[in-house]
């Protein structure tokens, strides 16, 4: 059973539909009590990092996430969910969960480069043998919509990177916590494969 955090941070329907497609039972809730027995958690997220953090804290889901990570149970952050696991974000600015050392910064944009970074971009996967990227090769495309990028501290294991003006990490793994900046639930067959890898992951 996979728990999906509902904290008024974007559209959960597409995550639910993707889990249905993969045959995975799920529970969507905003109450830690409903989610604490889940085998793993997915933290989706669209919108403003500081609003997301306020909602998480108000619902005490920040404590739930900390507990899951401390017990080594898998957690996947998607989009803003991949940003707020870091120490802080320039968006807000917001003090974030601090589950992974690092910060989140505004994409610089510039000549001919649009921000938000919206659309399909190619991703490089430096750890070809990692169970989370099984069956997906470097150069495959995934769907992004974001204006801020993650900059985890040195030593955090980077799973993927892309280029939009600068090269930046779009996925990392730290203990039992993994992230994708793009939307695997909206990235076609390969996105579903990455989600399936997370469901099978035993960190």
């Amino acid at each position: 059973m996979t728990g999906v955090l509902d904290y008024d941070a974007g559209n959960l329907t597409s995550v639910q539909n993707a889990l249905d497609y993969l045959g995975e039972p799920w529970i969507v809730s905003r109450h830690p009590l409903d989610l604490q027995e889940a085998d793993r958690l997915i933290v989706p997220g669209d919108g403003h990092a500081s609003t997301c953090m306020e909602n998480l804290r108000f619902l005490e889901l920040d404590l739930l996430l900390g507990d899951f990570v401390a017990r080594g149970r898998p957690v996947l952050g998607i989009c803003v969910g991949s940003q707020i696991v870091l120490d802080s974000s320039e968006e807000g600015p917001a003090r974030c969960l601090g589950l992974v050392p690092g910060v989140c910064r505004l994409l610089p944009g510039g000549a001919g480069l649009k921000v938000p970074h919206m659309g399909w971009n190619t991703v490089n996967f430096p750890q070809a043998n990692h169970p989370l990227v099984r069956g997906v090769v470097s150069g495959s495309s995934f769907y992004f919509v974001h204006s801020y990028y993650t900059s985890p501290a040195q030593g955090v294991s980077v799973l993927g990177s892309t280029v939009h003006g600068l090269e930046f990490p779009v996925g990392f793994v730290h203990g039992s916590l993994a992230t994708w900046q793009f939307h695997p639930e909206k990235s076609g067959a390969l996105g579903l494969r990455l989600l399936g890898n997370f469901l099978a992951w035993r960190p």
Binding site: K114, M118, G119, V163, K186, G188, L190
Partner: protein, 260 residues
């Protein structure tokens, strides 16, 4: 590298896909859910559904279509047409669409853009503009609404800037002059808006051959191109279009086949 998107547009009336020419004649084409699934498997990067249902009582049919589409396709899709209130936006997003496209209603009630952006984020709010060439306007284009029937006093560039300031995260530019002609997109219109605005610009109206897509994505500086009749009648498939574009140096996504 960020790739140029090919977006398939489905006009939906009373739950069936139709194709309109110059917003007037319509022909029935099929079931939008099945068509969406087919384009998804072919490798379309995104889909957009425009609801052109005439009667208010049949509006629920569209939400049902959106819900079924969201269960079958795992790429972003947008819904437009007849969205008048924050509640309309909520229903479409909850049914599983990523984006909502506002056109005439945004002109009548610009706060609808900011309300939607506040509730669901700018990435969910698409401003669609029907542009009619008119040299008496500063940008050379006048905004028209109600499917091309009602001229407004708005200049296309000024309205696009206002829409972005209100919270629109993407623009769809439809050239009324080019729509349905198969003579090519309006490159001038698309380039002007794409260079003036920091948000993605989608070109719409006029595609007939693959070269038209290449032109608008390269010379026209569009971030994405909308296609409809080119693919609806089986003249071209998405892979044929993408192969052509890739050969001409346009970065496009090659979709992987589905598991199972």
């Amino acid at each position: 590298m960020l790739q140029k998107r090919i977006i398939v547009c489905l006009d939906v009336r009373d739950g069936k896909t139709v194709k309109s020419v110059k917003f007037v004649d319509t022909k029935e084409l099929g079931d939008p859910v099945e068509m969406a699934a087919e384009y998804y498997l072919q490798g379309a990067d995104e889909l957009v559904f425009y609801d052109i249902t005439a009667s208010a009582e049949k509006r629920g049919v569209l939400i049902d279509v959106v819900r079924k589409v969201a269960q079958r396709i795992f790429i972003p899709f947008c819904v437009g047409g007849g969205i008048k209130t924050a509640e309309d936006i909520r229903q479409v997003i909850l049914a599983g669409a990523e984006k909502v496209s506002l056109n005439s209603q945004a002109v009548r009630n610009p706060q609808l853009i900011s309300t939607g952006a506040r509730l669901y984020g700018s990435q969910s709010m698409v401003l669609a503009i029907d542009a009619l060439a008119d040299s008496s306007f500063p940008s050379g284009y006048r905004v028209v609404i109600d499917g091309g029937r009602t001229p407004t006093d708005l200049d296309v560039l000024a309205w696009a800037r206002q829409g972005q300031a209100l919270g629109a995260g993407e623009l769809v530019l439809n050239s009324i002059d080019a729509d349905g002609t198969k003579a090519g997109y309006d490159l001038n219109l698309t380039r002007m808006l794409s260079q003036a605005l920091p948000i993605p610009v989608v070109a719409s109206g006029g595609a007939g051959i693959p070269e038209h897509l290449r032109a608008v994505l390269q010379e026209g500086k569009a971030d994405a191109a909308l296609v409809a009749s080119m693919v609806h009648y089986g003249t071209y498939t998405i892979p044929v279009l993408k192969d052509y574009l890739a050969e001409k140096g346009v970065p496009v996504r090659v979709a992987e086949p589905h598991d199972g």
